[in-house]
Amino acid sequence: MYRTFTFFVLMAISGLLSAQNTVYATETFRDTRIISGQSVETSIQGQAKFIISHRFGDIYEQNPFSLLYNFFGFNGGANMRIGLDYGITNWLTVGAGRSNLARTYDGFVKVKLLKQSTGDKNMPITLTLYSDISVITDTSDELLDPYFTGGIGFANQLLIARKFSDGFSLQLMPTHVHRNLVDLNSDPNDIFAVGIATKVRVAKNIDLTGEYFYTLPDQLPVGYDNCLSIGADFITKGHVFQLQFSNSPYLIPEHYIGKTQGSIYETVNGKPEFNIRFGFNITRTFKVAGRPYE
């Protein structure tokens, strides 16, 4: 009896103490990816995360019968990225991946600099720095082929997010993209863009997400467009399943900013045209270090 009493007293004290301490916002976004882009979240220390991203071909067909024939872009040629992230600490994640479009390898570092919190420490936002390097190894472009560094591109992103409530988060993403080799002298090697992303909870285990990257004016050559995506996160046991629609087949920043062609809806020669691709991300985490699973 005495022991139970002591236990409850200790619990009450610890509860009082923690009330005075800092409360950090968790799950600003459900996963380290929002749709194509990264969220402020980083991997947990010692956890490896295996990510498969997939973007199918164009859904839209002029001939309605082709819709089923190509099964809504399923037969239209897909871009896939297989990646592995690893959390060195709770605030530092490194990762690498390979996309099949243009045979691209990429590696990145993600550093969480600020954590949104209330209480003793009051911080209105979460701030994460994302930086990556990628190299295109496609040999079908004969101009790029003898010139390895031409395929290299970089992206630097500041991810600024705030979780307003359990149901709503907003993220701003000022982005700098550099590509070593562009087509024409008039095309910029450096592109600056601002991305905005959001998460809205609609059901206990379903979140709606949206993402748009606005390239600052006078940077994109004619025929290139901004990347707009909408999606849904399904929280299942053990992983997050993200379904999405986007006008871009690309999955890394230096490609979906600056290489995306065709906006979601446009008119070509007076005829309406849609550029919508279906896609998904599946993530699976593995504990590499730390305590075993219980």
Partner: protein
Amino acid sequence: MKFAFGLKMDTLTIKMKKTPLIAAGMLCIAFFFNSCYYDSKEELFGTTACDTVDVTYATTILPILETSCLECHSEANAGVLGGSQILEGYDFLMDYVVAGDANASSFYNTVAWVSGYVEMPQGSDQLSDCKIAKIRAWINAGALNN
């Protein structure tokens, strides 16, 4: 903990636990200071002028097919990889070409990624604008077996 040459770990000021952090830090620095170029194809390889006049089946179209199409659309592989659509050999290719009219040729429309057609080559970047222009020129000139 000892290294192979007997140096004690304690003598190093860097603790073993921090080495992954330092490695990651160096990786970060490598990212930022990695050689960064400001090149354009126009500057390096001259004006990317595209010769669409001297275009023949043997010297222009066949090499494009061999590098970008026949991996899947050869007679041997088409059944499994290429949806049974064979582009190997002039006669098979002409099943997808309307001589003299590129816009009516599915061969042109698929490689030009015309909306409503499957984008070829599947799972790769689009052919270069010059290659597409050459295919167009060859078809519009009558798609001759020359």
